[in-house]
């Protein structure tokens, strides 16, 4: 009985199914393609996915707190636009980067105020700000492409290589570490989980659930801003529509990684694994010469299978533990009446 309980608890660790699938996939691509499991190839596609990793971290905060943020992709694009513009105007590197992050923070704060103060549905609010941010980027770029800052230091934000790894990857690793740590180890992180698990009991227990959500949206916006700076420094060019749809990839990654869309369940590193899974899948299929239209279908299928698998494994674990507890209770009661 005890073993069974332990077994089910191990199964209940979300993302186990995903990790398994990940290993299978990497093995398959490595065997079928010579150019897949090569340092350069890996570094290249991981580097490309860095902005998505950064917004996935912020998004995970919001989702765990029981919300959703659709604006992050567009805000990332706009932040890339503002920071590159300021850099092109000759502002110092740090100022241009700060403008990009501030753009993100501003949008995060707008989302936060409308959602927590005016109590408007988060889906609609962030859909609205998504369009505003995307529209502003079009205005900013004036339908042309912004190309080329002369500030080498600005580009260095993403492109400097340390031990063969770009700073962009370094930044995303740092973001994941810092925010995962704060989610798991600080009292703020605890309040985020509590808010997502149960808004009502958390509220009655004296947790300012609105403030928790407010902060989560600001974090999400700020990280979208940071992601924008990193992307601008990487591409050194910004055009209208940049980063559109990133939010959907981030959501898909988070869900694949076992972050529950109803809140209260998941963690950043698992969400990042989910995002990495999608990036790896894309790269592998590309190298295998699969038609881009087909790999969109395969990506969709993977998301569906992953989510269903995770759900059924979790449900199974839940049933096992509650069954055992019912048994324990019976034993206890028999003992008491004897």
């Amino acid at each position: 009985m005890k073993n069974m309980a332990r077994f089910s608890r191990i199964l209940s660790i979300e993302g186990v199914a995903l990790l398994g699938a990940f290993v299978v996939m990497v093995t398959y691509f490595s065997l079928t393609s010579d150019s897949f499991f090569v340092g350069d190839s890996i570094r290249y596609y991981v580097n490309e996915a860095v902005p998505i990793f950064i917004i996935t971290a912020g998004l995970t905060y919001v989702i765990i707190a029981g919300g959703i943020d659709l604006s992050i992709g567009a805000v990332l694009g706009l932040s890339a636009g503002t920071s590159l513009t300021f850099s092109m105007w000759g502002w110092p590197t740090w100022a241009a980067a700060l403008v990009g992050i501030a753009t993100g923070l501003l949008f995060g704060a707008i989302n936060a105020v409308i959602i927590t103060v005016f109590k408007v549905n988060d889906f609609i609010v962030t859909l609205g700000t998504l369009n505003i941010a995307a529209g502003l980027l079009t205005v900013l770029t004036d339908h042309k492409q912004l190309i080329g800052t002369s500030d080498k230091n600005f580009l260095a934000i993403s492109e400097t290589k340390v031990f063969g790894v770009t700073t962009a990857i370094g930044i995303s690793v740092l973001v994941v570490l810092v925010f995962e740590f704060s989610l798991l180890k600080t009292s703020y992180g605890r309040r985020v989980y509590a808010t997502g698990i149960g808004k009502l009991p958390a509220f009655i227990s004296g947790i300012d659930v609105d403030m928790v959500k407010f902060q989560a949206y600001v974090i999400s916006g700020g990280l979208a801003g940071l992601g924008g700076v990193v992307l601008a420094a990487h591409l050194n060019s910004v055009q209208s529509g940049l980063a559109g749809g990133y939010e959907l990839t981030a959501i898909a990654g988070a869900v694949l990684g076992g972050v529950s869309l109803s809140g209260g369940r998941g963690s950043i590193w698992r969400a990042i694994i989910g995002a990495l899974f999608l990036a790896t899948l894309k790269q592998g299929l590309q190298l295998a010469g699969v038609d881009p239209l087909i790999y969109q279908i395969i990506t969709g299928l993977c998301i569906l299978i992953g989510v269903v698998l995770d759900k059924s494994v979790y449900g199974f674990a839940l049933r096992m533990t509650s069954k055992n507890l019912a048994k324990n209770d019976q034993v206890l009661q028999q003992g008491r009446s004897a």
Binding site: T186, A194, P201, I207, G264
Partner: protein
């Protein structure tokens, strides 16, 4: 049980109905017999199983055991549409009116069967034809022709109730179930409703009437079925009964036995003339439509019981005090200082804590472990520089698990895997961890087993003896009387009674007298 008059055959007979929800036996071989054209009262305290029985009858849930006979033939009511087909309609306690639809649209909402009974079939809904069909009926219930086309939101609460009745009647039911039909109605509106009920009876419709207002049923209902703890206690004819006898049937005479608990109850200093300090003073608390000008004081070391029927505003009062709900006016003083409490967070800071009712929804954080649940209300205690100190968290939780004898495999176990009684102890620990001076227990023993119940009672008494102030809301009167030093009675959001020195009074006048006094105040019976 003398009358089983052969002349009128029962339209409905439910036999040996049982229903189990996980650990709770909601119904245990319950019987219900209703004759044609009879007004039949279905009575019982909260959790007696009335609503489960009615859900089974209206097809919302299915019984585990038992048989249902309708007009003499055995039937199964597996779905609400089947109930409609048989002629069983229900008027719910909460109005199911959709405010943006017109009265007419509301009446025909969800009545696919009657909609298609039109004389000539048309692919669209002929509203004019529908209006013609219900005009007579609506007029009888006080809804004019023009009102049929108005949005339902424009109508008063009695007329909304009438819409519900008409809606139930267009399906031409043989049995109509009314669940607390008078809630939200003024006195004169109630009289009108009773008139409607009589006219329904004259049409040969059988009414099953659920109510907590015992005084209403006399003179209207002929028979009653009394339920307690999921069992049928008795089928009675109401002719030679009164409210007091009904109460005894509903709550049982063993209630007195539990009262022995008061023997080891602490003695309050207030009783012995020595005045203890006032910890909480509420003055003129108002909330539109919920609370009416409530003022009371709470002393240190006192257990104050709050009595009242469902919907009297007991939980709402406490939620207003801890800042979970807003108020329109009124002041709250804690230890003599006026405070504004606009969020439970503030309440915790000021030493107020509440163990909420409805543990599963308002109490537990299901995905959190036992320790995470315990430390939640005062994370400061386990936090240093914003970081959670795991050692300290384990230490604190361990102490509570030992103190309250919480049965859990380990501290990391998710709270949802614990039994109800142990979950409740964890929530009590969460409140205690915040070191409050005033504790509010809302239905603290709801749905927990007897031994946990006794332990929770012990915790409450110990808190009071150590000088804390305790407020207890409990629907079970024997529990409330057994615990409290003083009881406040609420009715329809207003404070309508106060009974002091409960333990002394129980000893002097007997348990039943005290219980009757509370019930009379709560249900407005003048004896």
């Amino acid at each position: 049980m003398k009358d089983q008059a052969g002349s009128v055959p029962p339209i409905l007979r439910m036999e040996g109905i049982s229903k189990r929800y996980q650990a709770v036996q909601a119904l245990d071989h319950v019987d219900l017999t209703v004759s044609s054209g009879e007004i039949h009262a279905l009575l019982g305290g909260n959790g007696a199983g009335k609503s489960t029985l009615l859900k089974i009858l209206s097809g919302l849930t299915n019984p585990d055991e038992g048989r249902i006979f309708f007009e003499g033939t055995e039937v199964t009511v597996e779905h609400p549409s089947r109930a409609q087909q048989l002629g069983i309609s229900m008027i719910h306690q909460e109005l199911s009116i959709i405010p943006d639809l017109t009265v007419l649209e509301n009446i025909f909402l969800g009545q696919q069967r009657t909609l298609t009974q039109s004389k000539k079939w048309t692919p669209w809904i002929n509203r004019r034809d529908l209006a013609k069909r219900v005009q007579e009926l609506t007029q009888e219930f006080g809804i004019s022709k023009t009102e049929l086309w108005a949005p339902a939101a424009d109508l008063g609460s009695l007329k909304k109730r009438s819409i519900e009745i008409v809606k139930a009647l267009v399906a031409q039911p043989k049995i109509l179930i009314l669940d607390e039909p008078t809630s939200g109605l003024e006195e004169h509106e109630k009289a009108l409703l009773f008139e409607h009920m009589r006219s329904l009876q004259r049409r040969g419709v059988s009414l099953i009437w659920v109510t907590h207002h015992l005084d209403e049923i006399f003179g209207l209902a002929e028979k009653a079925t009394v339920m307690r703890d999921g069992k049928t206690v008795q089928h009675v004819s109401l002719e030679n009964l009164n409210v007091q006898k009904l109460i005894a049937l509903m709550f049982g005479s063993e209630a007195a036995a539990l009262i022995n608990l008061t023997e080891d109850a602490h003695t309050l200093e207030v009783n012995s003339g020595q005045v203890s300090k006032i910890s909480l003073e509420v003055q003129g608390l108002n909330r539109q439509g919920v609370l009416k000008d409530i003022s009371f004081k709470l002393h240190e070391g006192e257990i104050l019981g709050i009595a009242g029927l469902a919907g009297a505003g007991r939980s709402e009062l406490m939620r207003a005090i801890i800042g979970a709900d807003s108020t329109d006016s009124g002041t709250i003083q804690i230890s003599g200082i006026t405070r504004t409490i606009n969020h439970p967070k503030k309440a915790y800071e000021l030493g107020l804590a509440m163990i909420p009712e409805d543990r599963k929804i308002l109490g537990i954080l299901s995905e959190f472990s036992v320790e995470q649940n315990i430390t939640l209300a005062k994370l400061k205690k386990v936090t240093k520089f914003g970081l959670i100190n795991r050692k300290r968290e384990v230490q604190i939780s361990d102490a509570f698990v030992a103190q309250l004898q919480i049965k859990t495999p380990n501290l990391k176990e998710k709270i949802r895997n614990l039994s109800g009684g142990n979950q409740q102890k964890v929530i009590i620990s969460r409140c205690l961890n915040a070191d409050p001076n005033i504790l509010i227990f809302d239905e603290p023993t709801q749905g927990i087993d007897v031994s946990s119940k006794v332990e929770v009672h012990k915790v409450i008494r110990n808190l009071a003896s150590s000088g804390k102030s305790v407020v207890v809301i409990a629907s079970e009167l024997n529990e409330l009387i057994g615990l409290s030093d003083r009881v406040l009675v609420l009715r329809e959001g207003a404070l309508v009674g106060e009974i002091k020195n409960i333990p002394a009074k129980v000893q002097a006048d007997g348990y039943e007298t005290v219980e009757r006094e509370i019930l009379n105040a709560a249900s407005k019976v003048t004896s």
